[in-house]
């Protein structure tokens, strides 16, 4: 791979490509540490990383860490031997551990990436920060709100980096779209719509029954909060980012409706969050029908921003020429069925506007490489970027609050003591 290609694929290169480098600094202060000048100053410096948890997500991080020039993976840890061997295939030279506390004792390690089941995040992060390591912890931040709050305070106390895997905050297509939404280019935000539909049982194959809960931890309440912590926390963060506000309350309902296979988490969840100005944000997830896939849409008065496809749909699309309108109307006259309930009724079907691309190559990445790239740069710099931890914290906190609303079957508001 040549240097030019590496530069273009780097986070800094991508920000430059979409023309965001200077314009967005005030809206996204955490990007300030990612300027090309910063990258230049850090030439020949490395972040020495230890990865705790080398399962599927951990290996994705290892794959990206291989591509990041300033990253050196020096240690790996997993208490499941097959996973540890998988991880070692990316970095055969790295020291191997089965107990994360031994890895934390390794003086060669500057920072750790934690990609373990949700219930482990809190203790591992606290121990790592106490050991003087910078931390990148996979989302969701922790199993409950009190743990998230203590992690937040621990970061403030130690001054070490604490990143959570909310990669959209570093995805250039999200940054570009959000900069326009926040600037009010499309009018006020009137609603935020999130959904994530899949059609699979969310299970991994298990080599022996006694490993069921260890491998399929996502399905059990002891380790996981299900769809709300695995999926919702990514999407809910969009709404808070776009509106610049925190939800005032949430109602929700969840059921184990289709996959009745002994799992303890919901397979169908629906939550509605209300912001102080009355704007609603929804999150729906069903894992027994994948037709609509995933969607993250910011609905503004004058346009809709589709964050996944990076397309913009104006409420009043650009006027067509008279002759195009004539041809379109003739087509409609020929091909459209007449309304069966008379002229007073017509179906209000979705707009057929094909929209405008916000960023080309919207599917090139999902931000995971970019957030890891930024994390490594910031490990070298040694400073936690401004306001970033707040974004991480509230994304998880409101996901957990949504799950609480479902469990308790009542409207939930965040206890004032959890605001930071």
């Amino acid at each position: 791979m040549d240097k030019k290609n590496i530069d273009r694929r780097s986070f800094f290169g991508k920000l430059g490509e979409i023309g965001l480098a200077s314009a967005a600094l005030s809206a996204f202060p955490w990007i300030e540490a990612c300027t090309p000048r910063q990258a230049d100053e850090q030439k020949n410096e490395y972040a020495r990383i230890g990865v705790i948890g080398t399962g599927s997500r951990g290996c994705i991080h290892l794959m990206f860490l291989q591509q990041i020039p300033c990253a050196r993976v020096v240690a790996l840890c997993d208490n499941y031997e097959p996973n540890l061997l998988n991880g070692a295939s990316y970095f055969p030279e790295a020291a191997r551990y089965s107990d994360y506390r031994e890895l934390l004792g390794n003086k060669e390690v500057d920072a750790v990436v934690i990609a373990t089941p949700l219930d482990c995040h809190y203790q591992m992060t606290m121990d790592a920060l106490d050991a003087g390591k910078h931390v990148f912890c996979e989302k969701a931040m922790a199993y409950d709100i009190a743990q998230c709050h203590r992690m937040y305070l621990k970061q403030k106390e130690t001054g070490k980096l604490l990143f959570v895997g909310q990669q959209r905050l570093f995805d250039p297509k999200y940054l570009k779209a959000m900069s326009s939404v926040i600037a009010g280019d499309y009018g006020p935000v009137v609603a935020v719509r999130n959904y994530w539909y899949r059609n699979n049982d969310w299970r991994r194959s298990v080599p022996s029954p006694d490993l069921e809960r260890h491998i399929n931890w996502r399905l059990y309440r002891e380790y996981s909060r299900g769809l709300m912590t695995e999926l919702a926390c990514h999407q809910l963060q969009n709404g808070m980012w776009a509106t610049g506000m925190l939800p005032e309350k949430v109602i929700g309902t969840g059921e184990t409706m289709y996959w009745k296979d002994g799992r303890e988490v919901y397979d169908s969840v629906h939550a509605i969050y209300t912001f102080p100005n009355g704007v609603h944000m929804t999150f729906d997830s069903v894992i027994s029908n994948a037709h609509y896939g995933m969607g993250e849409q910011i609905l503004c008065k004058d346009a809709t921003v589709d964050l996944i496809t990076s397309r913009l749909y104006y409420e009043k699309p650009q006027r067509r020429s008279s002759i195009e309108s004539l041809i379109s109307d003739i087509e409609k006259g020929i091909f459209t069925n007449s309304a069966f309930a008379g002229t007073s009724w017509a179906p209000e079907t979705a707009s057929r506007d094909t929209g405008i691309a916000i960023v080309a190559n919207a599917y090139e990445s999902d931000g995971t490489r970019e957030i890891m790239d930024a994390f490594c740069r910031m490990v070298i710099k040694g400073e936690m970027p401004d306001k970033l931890l707040d974004q991480f914290y509230y994304a998880t906190v409101f996901s957990l609050l949504g799950d609480e609303a479902m469990l308790q079957n009542k409207e939930m508001r965040l206890d004032p003591e959890w605001y930071v």
Binding site: S321, S322, I323, E324, S325, L326
Partner: protein
């Protein structure tokens, strides 16, 4: 198998005239659309590409009619 054929100057002139008639018809459709949809008069020039395409479509349709007439004459004529 195929015989040489000659397109006379008279035939060419006739086809050019027919295409010009088609173009004028398409042009009038554009003018009508501008009036009906209250579009700007600049569309007379900016939409000239559409007008040419519509003229070509009308010309092709007229040829389909002529072909049909020729076929009918061939089998049932005289």
């Amino acid at each position: 198998m195929f015989k040489d054929s000659i397109i006379t100057a008279k035939d060419k002139t006739r086809e050019v005239i027919i295409f010009l008639v088609c173009f004028v018809a398409a042009f009038l459709v554009n003018v009508g659309a501008i009036i009906a949809y209250r579009g700007p008069w600049t569309e007379i020039f900016t939409q000239i590409g559409f007008v040419v395409i519509i003229a070509a479509v009308i010309y092709l349709l007229h040829w389909l009619v002529r072909l049909a007439v020729m076929v009918i004459r061939h089998f049932f004529g005289k």
